[in-house]
Symmetry: C2
Subunit: 225 residues, 2 copies
């Protein structure tokens, strides 16, 4: 079911959905670039290959999102432009000192972004919502991160340093998301669409939900959130 | 026709072919990373998308080459390792000052590398030779570079600067290739395989051939080689 171009509420959903697709497409593009560089920096060719394939999948996801923008009558470049540098913002807030920190940073950043996109997808038209939700996640990448960090986490001192790093990262990720919500009324509307709550309450609930997902993820890695 | 693992001459071809595949796979991986970064640096989202897709195709080519390494009983990581940094070497010799210079650098670098791989493919087993030759080339990327540089080349001063830059680049590319030939006896054998010429004569002919191709390419761009 695509939104009708005629009636006003549907037109609003279509316009907001295009903003979501622009954010998601820009996010996947920047993830692609970051992952390509992570691949180049990987300590072994085996890890490099796993991460390079994740980069390739991010690019494929971007293509699907761009195709959906076109289906809805939008222009991909126009919709992506407002979000240019969205991951760069996250990247520049903190600098990873080790490969483990870099791996955790990318993993947490993409996971929080995916969770956020899933929440936004609930406010989009049904077909776009299903497309976005279906695209997200990367099991091979998650397995790599979990297995690589398991070795580091086995050491108590490294584990507590990484746990601290994880707390800083989630703070940075949430700050980037807050910036996106504040600057883009369409994003705030998409978040409010399902609940009918007032904007601020909804944003609080979104942050609580993203933080809870983060805690579960850190536990899976054997780290204290 | 794959090389038999039994007879000695075929075993040599198989071993040398694996070295070629390692070089080609490493080259495609590094091209993928460089192109991803070029995409991120592109002046418009439209150009960015074209270059990002070229990066995606480089990764796909690498997957085909890796699959062929496995078919021949080789290990991809082992075969790629000796060529780690092959493009980085080219990158670090000269620094592009403008987007046009960066575009020309990548274009010339990949084109010379493709030409070199085509020559090497003649010494490989028939099936690998066809695979490598069939994979090379990227029309969409070439079109982008030709159309983007056409605007710059229209200006005489810019054109003569770019032509000078092109001459430096081809010198750098040939120096990198010379290094690969010197360090890897298998590469020298693959070059000699078809002609039966002495190694040095063959290398001279290879350089003459690569330079001739470069001249044709520069002319296509409207630049003096």
């Amino acid at each position: 079911m695509t939104a009708s171009h005629q009636s006003s509420p549907d037109e609003q959903v279509r316009a907001d959905t295009l903003v979501l697709l622009g954010l998601a497409a820009e996010f996947e593009f920047e993830a692609f670039v970051r992952l390509a560089n992570d691949a180049a920096a990987a300590p072994s060719i085996a890890e490099r290959q796993v991460i390079a394939r994740s980069a390739g999948r991010a690019l494929e996801r971007q293509e699907h999102l761009i195709a959906r923008i076109a289906e809805l009558g939008g222009d991909a470049a126009t919709m992506m432009a407002p979000f240019d540098g969205v991951i760069l913002d996250f990247e520049q807030r903190t600098t990873a000192a080790t490969w483990s920190e870099r791996l955790l940073k990318a993993f947490i950043g993409y996971a929080v972004a995916d969770d956020f996109l899933r929440l936004l997808a609930q406010g989009a038209d049904e077909r776009t919502g299903e497309l976005v939700t279906g695209l997200l996640g990367d099991d091979a990448y998650t397995e790599l991160v979990v297995s690589q960090l398991a070795q580091v986490v086995a050491d108590d001192v490294s584990a507590s340093r990484l746990a601290l790093w994880g707390r800083r990262l989630v703070g940075d990720a949430l700050a980037v998301i807050q910036g996106v919500i504040v600057r883009q009324p369409a994003i705030a509307r998409l978040l409010a669409a399902q609940s009918g709550e007032a904007g601020e309450d909804r944003v609080q609930r979104v942050f609580a939900s993203l933080t809870a997902e983060h805690t579960r993820r850190m536990e899976r890695l054997g780290l204290t959130a």
